[in-house]
Every structure is written in C-alpha cells, then in structure tokens.
Symmetry: C2
Subunit: 332 residues, 2 copies
DNA sequence: GTCAATATTGTAAACGTTTACTATACTCTT
DNA sequence: AAGAGTATAGTAAACGTTTACAATATTGAC
C-alpha cells in the first residue's frame, strides 16, 4: 500500500538503485534526476521503510531502556537524560518497565534483542547479574545503571553510594543524633547495601554502631517507609533520626511520624536519598542526598553510543562513578 | 554473525521453511523434527529476527508514545498505563518526549512512521491538529490523549475538563471565596481553555465573573505558577483563592504565597488539577481535581489496539471522555 | 496391493531496502 | 578522432523471514 522506492523508480523512469542513491544523498547521481526523484517522492508522500533498511544495514538506530518503574520519580529523569541525547543522535528508544520483576526484565531483554536494538540501557530490578544475563549481554552493547557490582563484565554507571551513605550518616551525627534508624529498600539491592555500608562507617568513626531494630528493609515504595516507621513507633523503639535509602521511603516515614504526633526534625530527623522533585517542594523540604539522575541517563547513553559506534574495539568493562552531594533542607 | 533459520536448517538437514514452521508452532511438522529443530535452535542460541519478520508481515508489534515531557509527573502514569497493557499484548513502545515543541513532535511522528510502528499514541504538545498532522494520521491508527478538540478526525481520549474546572470553581465558591485567580498553562491549550470555561461557568452561576488580572497564563511548570503568584502579590492584587490548571502550577503558587508570609488556606485557598503523586504527601496536601492518568493510558491503548486489529472497519472518529473528581485536602 | 487421503517437507517468491559491480555515456586531452 | 578518465545509471545479490504452492511420503481402507 505504502509507496516504495520502486514506485518512484517506475514513474521517474530510472532504476530503483538510482532512487535509493538520490534519496540518500549519495554521490554520483545527476542533479536533475535527483530533483525529479525528490519531487516525485514528495508527491507520493513517500516514507522510507526503516525496517527494510534495518534488515540490510544490520542496525536499527534504536536502543532499549529497561527500568523498574517509570512511575517512580527517580526514573523519569534518567529516561529524559537518555532520551534527549539519543534524540539528538538520531536514535529512538524503547521504554520497558520491569516492575522490579526479574522475569519481566528478562522477557524484555529477549524481546529487545529480537527487535535488534543496537544497544541496551538497563537499570536492573535486582543487582545480581546472572549467567543468563551475561550470555545475552554478549550479543550487543549494554550499559547498566545504578546499583550494580563491578566485575559484572558489563559497562556501568553508578553513584558512589558508599559516600552517599556516609555523608548522610555524618550529617545526622553532627546534628547530635545517636539512635539512627536505617530504612532500606530491598535487602538484596546492591545500592542499598552500599548506602548502608557508608552509613555504618560514619557511625563507626564516631565509635557507634547500628542499634537493635534500627535497620529495616522493605521495598522501594512510600508505603514501605510508612509501615516500617509506624511499626517502630508502635513498638516504642523510637529513633532520633531516620536515614532512608530513598526519598519515597523517607516521605512514607515522615507520614507515619507526623501522624503519630511527633515532630520533624525535633523529635526525629529524617534524611532521604536521590533528591526527587517532590523533596524540594514547600511543606516537604526533605533533606536528602543528590543523585545526578539526568546526567546518569545521559552518560549511560554516551557510553553506549561509544560502544555501538566502535563495535570492534575490545575495551574491557568500563565504569563511571558519579558523586553524591548532601542537600540540607528542613527535615534534618 | 547471528545464527539464522538457515543455519539451523543446514544442521537439521531440512529446508528452512520447515524450520520456520517448527519455530512458529505451525501445524504440519513432524513432532520429531520439530523437537530436533528446537533443540538445535536452543544450542545455537538462536534469536528470531523481528526486523525480517516485520518486513514480510508488515507489522512490527510496536507502537509509539509521544508525550510532552516524561519528567512532568502527569505523564509517567499515563505511560505506565499504556505500557502495562501493551506489554501484556506483546507490543513494545517507543518513548518520545516532544518537550512541548511542535517541531520535535512532528519529527518524531515522521520517524515513527518510518520505523513502521503499528500505531501512535500522542499527548499533543499543542491542541491544534494541523493539516500536515491529519495527512500523516491517515497512514496508521492514532489515538490522541488529553486536551484535543473533537472533530479532529482522529480517535481521542480526554478528560471532561469543563466539568473539572466547574467543580473546582464551585468548591472555592462554597468556601466563600469571591476573588479567585485562575492560573493557566499555555493560553492556547485546549484543555486549559476548557478548564477555564468550566471555572467561569461556576462563577457565573453565582452571579460572579473573573476580576481584572485574575486570569494569568504561562507554561506548565512550577516556576510559572511561582512567578505569576509572586507578581500578583507584589502588585497588591491579592486573590482570596487560586485555581491552577495543574498541580505543578499550584505548587509554584503555594511556594510564592508562603514565602510572602501569607497563610494557606486562610488568606489564600489553592486548588490544583490532575492529582499528581506529590499532591498527596504530608506537608503538601494539595486540594485538587483527580485526573485518571493511568486509566487514560490504558484506555488509549485499548482503543488503539482495537483499530490495529481491525484495520478494515471504517468506524468514524471515536472519543471517550473521562470524569474528573474533586479531591479535598488541606489547601482549599 | 492399489488408491485416495493426509501428513510432512521443499521450492521459490516476496517484503523494501542497500550496495558492489558493471555498463554506458559524456568530457577532455592531445 | 582516439583514448583515458569521469559522471551517471543499471543489474543483481543480499539482508532473514513468511507463506502459497507443489512435491513427496505415509497411512488406511478395501
């Protein structure tokens, strides 16, 4: 139904190779014929078939982006950072939500490979890189984002989570807090682990350690922070500060704290992580740790394109580490 | 480099038509050969080439999603609603941010058509549907979301914005407010216009109308609300309530109001629109109008798939209208 | 054991491009 | 006016599938 190069060729009275050349601005086609061809293409409302082209060129100018959940305010910024650069470079991007499920993530990886994307950007649902992953990742350029161990054999871009955890802990300590509760997302998340590690090392420096019941884990949603905090209060095991491994968790905790009539930061100081947009609004003003999300997406794409455009060079695993930064607002 | 159907055929000692049949679970291939073929495919780590398949089948099981900005908290939910259903149906989705620019939007439309997506989901950057758009939209199924006039000739799914504006206005009036300021996003946005219309009709019912300087427009970002509100305060033209055409604008206004030491809702009541996640957090608790975002994405996909799967039926423009709902929290 | 019916497999064209190679037609040079 | 060189155009194969059609093998009925 669509007009093709052959239709144009027929009308112009030339071979379709010539049409292809004309349309692609290749050397060696008479300016007059070229103009004629362009005119006809325009008239026929011709749209080149990228599928056919992809088949012969073996590249699709498309990459896949797999993230846990675009609805989590951390990821839109990453996605936007990626998309902005990709768009400038003429690539399109598949959006895939793994919903924190390894199974769905894997399904997407396979699907995207079938669709022959030129590369893959993944913010993994869990930190572990399985054998199956490794096998698939050999097929095409892949860049992992956020919370992945090094030595995975795959390029990655991560935050210095240890440092992030450290500066958060340090800040709370400097505020004179001594009974600090760590609220983490999934316990087997590598980035949560690192943040916890940094946090405990700050405690250690002051000769302190994590008190009983002062390290709790759930998932990455607000509700989880709410429930954990509520639990603590009910049990009368009340900390004087909370360090949540992400802002949503912190927001949930804040909800619980103020519902129970405690004051923030007087009774309990709260510090989050990631600095999502919500954190800065009046009334929230959450103290947190900045995570350069947009930049992370952008840099991930930069690394990926580097690989895509130099498929032969056999560099080993590359890793870039971003720096966190303390953002002091009103909750701590 | 990738193994193809032909490689498998050679090893299995059958024609590649047979391999294709086996791989696609078609009737009429001997179970024994099928198993053999499947085994070989597995061993060779075979991944079917969706590009080649797309070329012959003339469908890609891919749709495009064009939205203004995934970073605006309204859109991730829409995207997620769309993606969840699409994933279940075996489709993938291209994410495209138009950045509120008509030019970028058009560029994406063309690009996606070249990539032969099966359909297009668009939340337009501006309400106008141009001649050029109309021409392109004839090429493939398209569903427009949010703030589009009917009669565009294209299927669409929208909110009843007039009603939304009306209930917001009504609520403020019932609270006894009389000098209400409307803060809109872009003045030529159709949905802003509709919300304004509903708002003024509520005023009208009470024998009121919009006072001078009490209808201001900017863009869709927080900053815009902040600036407009600040301006009003500086000029001493201070309303007793604000109706913002989206939550971000409302949040910006709130920022300005409280910075200037005025109280919410005592001095100025504020009501937003869309009910983004931030609106519900403690400390924000923005009164607003619920916009079923996730559902909108989901329904849009449902309409789109309907068209994709019945390409021949010549139904005329379809339009589904979602209902808004007042969410009373603390700012009004 | 023959024939028809059916199950299984193969052949080849098609999808819409790109591109290496070849062929032809000009344009200069001398 | 011949020959080299260059500009332009054409031919045909390739990319990896699907699928209509044809061919062959197998089965069952009698």
């Amino acid at each position: 139904m669509d007009t093709t190069i052959k239709d144009i060729a027929k009308i112009a009275g030339v071979s379709y190779a010539t049409v292809s050349r004309a349309l692609n601005d290749k050397y060696g086609v008479n300016p007059a014929t070229r103009d004629e061809i362009l005119k006809i293409a325009e008239e026929l409302n011709y749209s080149p078939n990228a599928i056919a082209r992809g088949l012969v060129k073996k590249q699709t100018h498309t990459v896949g982006l797999i993230i846990p959940d675009i609805t989590n305010p951390f990821f839109p910024e990453v996605a936007r950072g990626a998309e902005d650069l990709l768009e400038r470079e003429g690539y399109s991007i598949f959006l895939c939500n793994s919903n924190w499920e390894k199974k769905r993530e894997n399904k997407y990886i396979n699907l995207l490979i079938e669709k022959r994307v030129d590369g893959l950007l993944i913010a993994p649902s869990t930190s572990a890189v399985s054998e199956a992953d490794r096998k698939q990742f050999k097929r095409l350029p892949v860049v992992l984002m956020s919370g992945v161990q090094s030595g995975s054999g795959t390029d990655s871009i991560v935050l210095n989570n240890v440092k992030g955890g450290y500066i958060a802990g340090r800040h709370l300590l400097e505020l004179g807090r001594r009974k600090i509760c760590f609220i983490g997302g999934s316990e087997d998340s590598f980035s949560v682990k690192e943040r916890y590690e940094g946090f405990t090392s700050a405690l250690g420096e002051s000769g302190l350690s994590v008190l009983p019941g002062m390290a709790e884990f759930g998932d990455y949603r607000e509700k989880s922070g709410y429930r954990i905090m509520l639990d603590l209060i009910e049990k009368k095991n009340i900390p004087d500060a909370v360090f949540a491994s992400n802002d949503l968790l912190a927001l949930g905790a804040i909800q619980a704290i103020s519902e129970r009539g405690l004051r923030i930061p007087e009774d309990i100081a709260v510090i989050g992580f990631d600095n999502i947009a919500t954190a800065s609004f009046r009334g929230v003003e959450l103290t947190t740790v900045e995570h350069p999300k947009y930049k992370m997406g952008e840099l991930a794409v930069k690394m990926l394109l580097e690989r895509i455009e130099n498929p032969d060079v056999e560099k080993r695993e590359e890793r870039v580490v971003l720096d966190p930064e303390l953002i002091v607002r009103k909750t701590a």
